[in-house]
Symmetry: C2
Subunit: 252 residues, 2 copies
């Protein structure tokens, strides 16, 4: 009895279907950031028969929009829907997969040149269930500070996604899918600090965040601590969505 | 004597070469913004034998990086090199060119499904010389407020580029390629106002721009006016390039 099909057998089987189903030369890679309890992780897949990990990815169906393809890939790997998902880069080095499929026939789907469209997503990682794909033996959250060795140009794709996410903090709200409905200002600050990878001044953070005008302060406070009960906030959905579309009020 | 080859003849000739030279299914569209003397324009091509205009575009050579392809297209249409050029979107509606090549054989290069990668560029429009391509009868700067009817999804691509450029004002410096070496604060403000399409408060603009910390104030002032000679500024290249890479100092 065979324990599992080898990577080679799976690729060759997948290749035939892929030529039927997908548009050649275009692929998708998803950098799925997961936040929970003051830590930021990224979803990775471990390749069968190899020590390498990779980003969840896929291809574009012949009549599919690229954003729908990214939504489909994300749902297959995490079960998550209605997630914030944004295109952030195009990865087109002609040598990006050079050597990776050595020994395979040139007709193998995976061996053609792919222009990969990068998307990043933000989820609460305790709310999703990672699922491996056909060519992986594991799908798991990894700390962004301790990434394993990644296949092909996936480290570069990850780095670019993180830069884009940090930059996004300056012109778009984030946090709606990552924090509980009601949160304190220190909890929101923690999210920003984890993404930026550094501490922020508490007073500056408070002033700037209030200036963005996307929060409602609640009447009630958080009970139970030894200190003065901290104020609770909630995102004002209307203002939040407006800022997602038009940028922050304090911008130009 | 024939006045010129018809669009149909040119497309069929171009098609044969294209299948040899380019990677299928991937195209490029460039939104080239031109600024000069308080007006913002975009570079458009008028299709031969049609009343439609379109964005300058092209395809990806079989062994070319996508950014290099955009540089090549921009150089062919404007002669400009070393221009600020940024990828901003991917346009993948499966019906984006539907009906456009009706009557042509299915083997026509142009009739396949293309995923188009959008780039935008910023140039001083007095410094470049627009050049038509094979399928165009004219290449000209058009006011962004009075665009002619555009082919396929090019209006959507233009709109997305303009939104991205406006947003960029909040997190990256712009102006280095668009203004003379030395300029006054009102001249810089004008550039921002033309891109944003609205007036800005003079005091706020001054404070915010100084806060970005990318300008050097010169010793000399602008001579010759009836009023007090205005101060002159110059971009501090080191700080400017650092802000291009890392975002503005005043961000998070």
């Amino acid at each position: 009895m065979k324990e599992h099909n080898s990577l080679k057998e799976i690729l060759q089987k997948e290749s035939k279907q892929a030529w039927q189903l997908y548009l050649p030369h275009v692929s998708i890679d998803c950098v799925v950031f997961g936040f929970h309890d003051a830590s930021l992780k990224v979803l990775l897949l471990k390749l069968k028969d190899q020590e390498l990990w990779g980003l969840p990815g896929g291809y574009l169906e012949k009549q599919e929009e690229i954003h729908d393809a990214a939504v489909r890939v994300l749902k297959q790997r995490t079960g998550a829907e209605n997630t914030y998902l944004q295109q952030f880069g195009v990865f087109s080095d002609p040598k990006r997969s050079e050597g990776f499929f050595e020994g395979y026939p040139d007709t193998l789907w995976h061996k053609q040149r792919f222009i990969s469209i990068g998307f990043y997503a933000l989820v609460d990682y305790t709310l999703v269930e990672p699922v491996s794909d056909l060519i992986s033996s594991n799908c798991a959250w990894q700390d962004i500070d301790m990434l394993p060795e990644l296949m092909m140009d996936h480290q570069k794709i990850f780095d670019q996604a993180l830069i884009t996410l940090k930059r996004q903090l300056n012109y778009e709200p984030i946090g709606y899918n990552l924090l509980p409905n009601e949160f304190t200002m220190p909890e929101l600050q923690k999210l920003y600090e984890v993404i930026l990878g550094r501490k922020l001044n508490r007073g500056n953070f408070y002033r700037k965040m209030i200036g963005y005008d996307i929060l409602d302060k609640l009447e009630e406070t958080r009970k139970g601590g030894a200190h003065k009960a901290p104020n609770l906030y909630r995102f004002n959905i209307e203002k939040y969505e407006n800022a997602m579309k038009n940028g922050f009020k304090e911008g130009w």
